[in-house]
């Protein structure tokens, strides 16, 4: 009998015996389900935030800040500087020939209710700001009227703060009505109130924009765009690719949590691995006579080793699928508010990560019992009570 056929036969024999050892098998399955469930649940936060922050359309976009400023709440860009920035080479043009670039800012607002219930933020955008966000769709109400004291609210902020068409938000000069609710393909934009930049700026009585977001004609236009702006003596600005900014913002928000997820996943995997070693040694004891018989009739050590590893791997895969499925059922698509609205996501890559995590854990845990099984002399194995 070829070795491959021997391996298949011994593996099938071992797996068919799992029914008799269901209690011990359950220990591995539950352990792995817990490990993978916790890992994928935690990383669903990172995956959800990634979808909100890392947008495919940002690959051909650039952000211009005032020198020294790197965040949305800055307000150093004045109108004269913005006019110069819009003259930079490489900016794509809209159908009407105007540059596809928008000067924007972000401002914090007091909580709608209570004292410190989340952070309500208003984003001031210009006409190009809507053109730069092709996914933006009105789900209720109507778009902003030009120059009017009115606001839109993203679906995330609407859910979080209980706002909708007809609600009013207090600004510096009084209450502003919300005239529409929009979605934006899961983008961070959904976490904001949106108003016409110039109208809001007049109301807040403070001049200055935070950034200019520019759509470039293509990716190759960026170096010239950056050089033109940073070497322009009339400007003191910092330029970066939108994707770099996204990565920076995303990294700041998720670095610690992602590391914690992997640390916790590793600790749990270590505990599960000790459990697998124990269970597989127990399994080896239970199968000793069977293994001894197989060895006595001519089966090699390799099929025995592989069968022990395969059993551990099979149980781990079942546990991982159970854990990932539980995480998916409980968390996938669930709304969360952390600095903004986003949806938890148990993505296919997280399922795959969970499977690999469990497989590595189980194979490491099953290795010593498997090697022991392979080295077990047939005579000794047959004597086991």
């Amino acid at each position: 009998m070829s070795e491959l056929r021997q391996i298949a036969a011994v593996c099938l024999l071992g797996i068919s015996g799992l029914r008799d050892r269901y209690a011990t098998a359950l220990v591995v399955v539950v352990g792995m389900a817990c490990v993978v469930g916790v890992l994928t649940s935690m990383l669903s936060v990172t995956a959800g935030l990634a979808r909100a922050y890392l947008r495919p359309e940002d690959a051909t976009r650039a952000v211009v800040w005032r020198g020294g400023a790197r965040f949305d709440q800055a307000r150093g860009l004045q109108p004269d500087a913005i006019a110069t920035i819009l003259d930079a080479p490489g900016i794509a043009r809209g159908t009407d020939g105007t540059p596809l670039a928008d000067a924007e800012f972000l401002m914090w607002l007091p909580p709608v209710v209570g004292f410190a219930d989340g952070s309500l933020q208003l984003r001031g955008v210009g006409p190009a700001g809507f053109a730069l966000r092709p996914d933006l769709r009105m789900v209720a109400g109507r778009p902003l009227g030009a120059g009017k004291r009115e606001l839109l609210v993203g679906v995330g902020a609407a859910r979080k703060f209980g706002l909708g068409v007809g609600s009013e938000v207090r600004l510096r000069d009084g209450a502003w009505p919300i005239v529409g609710v929009f979605s934006c393909g899961g983008d961070t934009m959904e976490s904001y109130l949106v108003g016409d930049a110039l109208t809001v700026m007049a109301a807040r009585r403070r001049a200055g924009f935070a950034q200019v977001i520019a759509q470039l004609v293509d990716d190759r236009a960026y170096p010239e765009f950056q050089r033109w702006l940073t070497e322009n003596p009339a400007l003191s600005v910092y330029v970066e690719r939108k994707t770099d900014y996204d990565q920076r913002a995303f990294g700041i928000k998720t670095a610690f949590f992602t590391r914690m997820a992997y640390l916790i996943g590793a600790i749990m995997a270590l505990g599960a691995m000790f459990g697998v070693v124990k269970i597989m040694y127990g399994s080896l004891r239970a199968r000793a006579r069977e293994i001894g018989t197989l060895r006595a009739i001519g089966f090699g050590a390799t099929p025995v080793v592989v069968s022990v590893l395969a059993e551990a791997a099979l149980l781990a895969v079942i546990g991982a699928l159970l854990g990932a499925a539980t995480a998916w059922l409980i968390f996938d698509g669930r709304d969360l508010w952390v600095w903004g609205a986003f949806r938890l996501r148990v993505s296919p890559s997280l399922w795959a990560l969970g499977l690999v995590w469990a497989l590595v854990t189980s194979i490491l845990g099953g290795l010593f019992p498997a090697l022991r099984a392979g080295r077990l002399p047939p005579v000794e194995a047959l004597r086991v009570e």
Binding site: M107, R172, I267
Partner: protein, 394 residues
Amino acid sequence: MKFLPLVWASLWRNRAESALTLLALSVAFALFGTMLTLNAAYQRSIDDARMDRLIVACAFDCGVIPLGYREPLARIAGVTAVGAELWLGGWQQDERHPIVVTLVDEGLRSAWPELPMSAADWRALDVAPAGIFLSRSAAARRNVRIGDTLTVNTLPGSRADGSSAWPFTVLGFIPDPPGWGPSTGGPASDMIVGNLRYSQNAGRPDERDDATSLRVAVDRPEHARAVCREIEARFTNATPALYCVPAREDAQELADANINMRQISLGIGAAGLFMILFLCANGIAESVRERLPEFGVLKAVGYRDGRIAVLVLLEAAVPTLLAALVGTALALGVSVLVARLALKGVINMPEMQASPAAFGWALAAALVIALLSAVTPLYRLWRSDVAAVIAGRR
């Protein structure tokens, strides 16, 4: 006590498997302990913030507040003290080394007495307005000594003379602010305190009377919300308008705003324990099954069900309690690792300290696991027939 030799002997019947069970249990309890410590750290950071301290900032936009607001605020009923602080932000050598100096006025001494500065420190700051006090973690991070000069570089033109460098003299060190300590890093533990007069004397004329926020002390915690509402109402038409929040609620918001571990830590700890519950139960069940004849003999010689139950429970509880002890000790090491992760990330998190409560909870969880693990084997023992067991028919 007389059961212990029996329990001990049964535990080490199979040394390798017992050791592996103990290791798995210890790891799970290390995770549980870490999660409890983390949770307690976040809770402590909230508890350290007092309800009778208010933080007042500008509403609608993150600008500055005129220092002239201090007097009208002080006249509001219930207010006992008002102080101002201005955050002078910049960098040391380059932009990769950010630094923020909190410039404070004399009023803050009464409005924020929790600021860990002694009377002598306040006097020294008064005599030398260009002096600073660093929290111990801030000093350690920058490796500075008393008398050193520490320069904050800002955007051009922040000083009256058009320059951007603000040299400070290190006057001394203060304890880290409570709750956000030296092991964690992040801006809150990076406390550097200077004198607001320095900004008033050397800053740009149009920025000399600015404060980033005001701190207000109120006479009683239960008045905090009402005083806050009164402050907001009085300044609603002013430029800038004011936003007020009790310090405790602000701390709560800070703890919950980030993706912090506070809300999920207990769930993770519980998942870790659930993971090993089955392992522990399986071990006990296996042990009882293999030793049925032994229990049969004990029953035959007069051991009652209750005594045998105690024996099995002890056999389940000894390894879980031992693992709880080892795991909680390990949790201290893991907590240090967690704090390092936070330091490398940009997230600020509170100082993690060993918590007696975490130790107590770990012991309680160990007992619960032992109890749950022993339920099925005990039921099996209770139903078993002594004669059949001794004869080996079951």
